[in-house]
């Protein structure tokens, strides 16, 4: 069945360091979304990527969608303590009305 894998599972960084999480799908995706979940909170939408090779930026966050539309990454430049949380990718296949969430990367930022 459809699998969306995400690495790393955990990442501890010092404030100011960069952070990257990677998402890989076993099948080609129609698009991919990224969500952030603060501790004790609910997932909140960050961005959607649709086109092969697409790159989008939101301030210190850079999102990429692979050329084959099977992988994606989220890069945070110069992390801040407000970046703490779990980052999930959610892949959508062409045929089904459901999002396959990755296992998430839990980011901890030490001040």
């Amino acid at each position: 069945g459809q699998q969306v894998m995400q690495i790393p599972q955990y990442q501890h960084v010092q404030e100011g360091e960069d952070f990257t999480t990677y998402c890989n799908s076993s099948t080609t995706l129609s698009n991919i979304q990224w969500y952030k979940q603060r501790p004790g909170g609910h997932p909140v939408f960050l961005i959607q990527l649709v086109k092969s090779g697409e790159v989008k930026k939101q301030k210190r966050l850079t999102f990429q969608f692979g050329e084959a539309k099977k992988n994606s990454s989220l890069h945070i430049t110069a992390t801040q303590t407000t970046d703490v949380g779990t980052y999930f990718c959610a892949g959508i296949t062409y045929n089904f009305n459901k999002f396959y969430f990755g296992s998430g990367t839990k980011l901890n930022v030490k001040p």
Binding site: H42, P43, A90, N97, K98, F99, F101, G104
Partner: protein
């Protein structure tokens, strides 16, 4: 800002009891979802609902689960006979359009504890 609301925020129940979790999606949204998240784990898809019927469901969503939209505003998830392993946070989500075209708006979640 419109939001998805869920009740109860926390429910404790005995194994074998029936539980109903309620959700009020955002009013102009047409697609509704239930997800669950066991503590510290990933968000797992349960079911999607559109036009008053289930459009997709996962292998987790077996015969003990059901969903309905009884009155055009509430969207409920019923677990008929709860098991210990049903303990999790259950998130309702809604979207304007189906998967692939827009973001999911999640509610705050309902924490279910089965004893």
């Amino acid at each position: 800002e419109p939001e998805v609301t869920q009740t109860p925020s926390h429910q404790v129940t005995q194994m074998g009891q029936e539980v109903i979790l309620r959700c009020v999606p955002i009013s102009n949204h047409l697609y509704f979802y239930w997800y669950r998240q066991i503590l510290g784990q990933k968000v797992e898809f349960l079911v999607s609902f559109y036009n008053n019927e289930i459009s997709e469901k996962s292998e987790i969503f077996d015969d003990q689960f059901s969903v309905e939209r009884p009155d055009g505003s509430n969207f409920t998830l019923k677990i008929r006979s709860t098991k210990l392993e049903d303990s999790a946070m259950y998130f309702c989500a809604s979207s304007v359009q189906g998967a692939g075209t827009g973001e999911l708006f999640f509610g705050e979640g309902s924490r279910l504890t089965v004893l």
